[in-house]
Symmetry: C2
Subunit: 489 residues, 2 copies
């Protein structure tokens, strides 16, 4: 018997591959980890554009921290609170933390919603929050519907240890990846036919990877749909403060629509996932939040939060920081401004070489349309192009297939996790890649880009000279020629 | 169909009571929460003796913190690290954190083991670590054997969301609650007969609630047993630095025995759970550690750690603090000294009123023998006495039944989560309770204590006068008469 057992010492979860780390999304990270770009120490390394991080306003936070020593239990001004914080283990969280986070959530929702601090439940980042939701709402084998493309981590967060399923709601580029009633019904009916019980719909608003926000009509559609079937709606709004413009749609939280009361809906079905990882740029601090309108879920989620409470040291800091109205207001407005500038600069630079992206107004990334560069519209071709981008252009970007996108040729480029100089280098590499492709096309070299010669020639902007492009793209940081160009010419 | 679904909107986990918050252990906490003792603001309130917290050396930590401003990213000296820390999200953890924790684990194990930093996996406290272990090692329905009495939280941590079972290994007071081969075999065979697959044994060393450490013979027995059946051994050693004496047994980590190699054993079966909540007194910081000798488990646990990573702000602080050898050495020796003093003072005070406890040399609590005060040796009688202690004596202590103890009449009294003055108040309340009982016995009032008159009279020490007791117990903090006595006389 001992021998039989030795063959399966571990659990099925541990023996299986449900974590999904084999996805291309994570492969790209590994490539970056092996050879990370550094402007002086490793200028030929891989630039990390696979990481949706918000590093544009950290200076504001640092200033605040130094000016507010009592926010830390590790300063002479704050150390009197050390003992209380070190020992604090109430899973309700510090009252001042819950109050400050609730108020912050109201602010990033344009003060059009009320957030009740007693509904704030802590979790280990949004990662923990999503798993917690899945454990609360569904049994193994039951399913959530998720519009594609969606964040690859959901497969780990919601499915891995819970045994629930995620079933796609297909969207298409032809209408800007909007969720339609037909697609919702189709996904639901498909599950029913397969004998799978649908327990809810999971949306991300603003969307990762699209960077778009859901318009009001779509939110109404979703509320009506889930209320009709009496299934849950989990709304991941972790990018809500990254919305830098009201065009084409202003950000509307599901909370706003619910509180308006326009659409009749069972409130017990509505749950928000929030976090400070994206909106404040603090992924390391692991501040995840579940905010549910369902009392039983709040109660159960709070008990589950014991598995991923926020460090009291961090609760204390966040409570102080987010209670400072003046700071928060300044941070939010400055952050929008800087994200808008970065977005414009990046999309402009790309348009100069004929690359377009989905029009968006939130998130920390672009959803780039590289379909023209594919040899054929398949996932295989997309991954071939992705390998070239990783290994030759040396940019870690994320292929659409890793987001379960139903169309091949889309890529997510993160743009807020680097400084201006690194953006310059990235844009030059892209330019160089495209120019090389054009030259190869002229000389009939069989490269990926050359094979797409016809498409290229349709794009007049491509004919901009490299010189002009450089002038246009880098007004503020005149770098030498791209290192990639230098080493290859 | 919508109606049918509305009846079970939530998961079975959320609808069930697997969390175990209805246990008396947690009821006591609630009683405390409603009416917490404070020396000046609420002197008649409930004293929290249900909380195994280590507050005796927080002054040393505070001193260190103020002297080491660069350990915090929230000081002018450390703020340069803010950006890196805020953005740090590698689930391997900061290298300096892993190194420092590994070294600390070696120190608290008397430098008789090697801890490999690459095996350090983070989790959300020991709570998260235990769940993580259960997810890695067993499938729903499978079981771990656990010697009783054991920490009530295990029912939540290991069973609730994983669906695994905990089956008791019975121990008895007659041999000091030691684990015997017969009890191990009995528990294993009982499971087999019930068709339950046993996946491992879970031990706590030092024991919570006993405060004892496992002697080497018992560790050898356990290693031999689990190796014979090729099942896992999870060793919770979160109290290892609370061992304040080598008598009656010095603390031996399972790691020490394994590395000695005396007992042949498959290393892949051995896993440690560790934390800084007890040994450093930082439960609020949520630093849990899984340390496994099995590479596949390390790998899987690391992936699971995404659900409960330690805040990078806290990792940074802990890395700096535990890298300071001089501080760590001083802290460990001073902590032992203060715990020993508190233990001696508390047990002495209790012995003065004829209450004895299990001889122990670790933990932050006493395992108190109140069997003589029970009307009959049943759980019901134990809970009756417990209600009197909570509601009349106003001490939140934890009844043995909440620890699944197989004998009625044992109670856990935590003693390291309060200052000396509060210990005085607690001891006076106990004394007053006992004296009242004696008086009632003399007047034949039908109180719990009176009914045990015979037992009392067997204990000569009880006849100490209240005056003498006061002199003996409070040499350092002459308090007025117990408020409980004052208000009732």
């Amino acid at each position: 018997m001992a021998e039989i057992q030795a063959n399966n010492l571990l659990s099925k979860i541990a023996s299986g591959d449900g974590h999904g780390e084999e996805s291309a999304y994570f492969d790209g990270w590994k490539a970056y980890d092996k050879d990370p770009f550094h402007s002086s120490k490793n200028p030929l390394g891989v630039i990390q554009m696979g990481l949706a991080e918000n590093q544009l306003c950290v200076d504001l936070v640092q200033d605040w921290v130094v000016k507010n020593p009592s926010a830390s239990i590790c300063t002479p001004g704050g150390v009197d609170g050390f003992k209380e914080m070190a020992n604090f283990q109430d899973y309700h969280g510090l009252p001042e933390f819950r109050n400050a986070v609730a108020r912050f959530m109201e602010k990033v929702r344009g003060d059009r919603v009320n957030s009740d601090p007693t509904r704030i439940v802590m979790s280990g980042g949004a990662t923990g929050a999503h798993e917690l939701m899945a454990f609360c709402l569904a049994d193994p084998g039951e399913a959530f519907l998720v519009p594609t493309p969606y964040y690859p981590g959901f497969d780990r967060d919601l499915r891995w240890r819970t045994g629930i399923q995620l079933l796609p709601i297909e969207t298409l580029s032809s209408n800007g990846f909007k969720i339609t009633k037909a697609a919702l019904e189709e996904a639901y009916n498909k599950a029913m036919e397969a004998g799978i019980r649908v327990k809810g719909v999971l949306i991300t608003n603003p969307s990762n990877p699209l960077g778009t926000v859901l318009d009001k009509d779509t939110l109404v559609l979703l509320l009506t749909f889930i209320n009709h079937y009496q299934i849950h709606l989990v709304c991941d709004e972790i990018y809500s403060a990254t919305v830098f413009s009201d065009m084409p749609n202003r950000f509307t939280s599901i909370a706003e629509l619910l509180e308006d009361g326009e659409v009749p809906c069972n409130r017990n079905l509505i749950h928000l996932v929030y976090s400070l990882s994206k909106d404040m740029g603090f992924p390391g601090f692991r501040v995840g939040i579940v905010y549910s309108y369902n009392d039983a879920v709040v109660n159960c989620a709070r008990k589950m939060s014991s598995f991923g409470l926020v460090s009291s040291q961090t609760q204390h800091l966040i409570a102080s920081m987010l209670s400072d109205d003046q700071f928060v207001d300044k941070y939010l407005s400055e952050s929008k401004k800087r994200l808008a500038t970065r977005y414009k600069f990046f999309t402009w630079g790309l348009s100069m070489v004929g690359i377009s992206s989905l029009k968006s107004n939130g998130g920390l990334f672009l959803w780039m349309d590289l379909r023209r560069l594919l040899q054929e519209p398949t996932v295989e071709a997309e991954l071939s192009l992705w390998r070239v981008i990783i290994n030759e252009v040396k940019l870690n970007v994320s292929p659409g297939s890793s987001f379960h996108c139903s169309e091949a040729g889309w890529f997510r480029f993160a743009f807020a996790n680097m400084d201006d100089k690194t953006v310059d280098v990235a844009l030059r590499r892209i330019r160089s890649f495209m120019v090389k492709g054009e030259e190869a096309a002229a000389g009939d070299k069989p490269t990926v880009v050359a094979k797409k010669k016809k498409c290229w020639q349709m794009d007049l902007q491509l004919r901009l000279s490299a010189r002009r492009l450089e002038e246009v793209m880098s007004p503020h940081s005149p770098l030498p020629l791209s290192p990639l160009v230098r080493t290859r010419t």
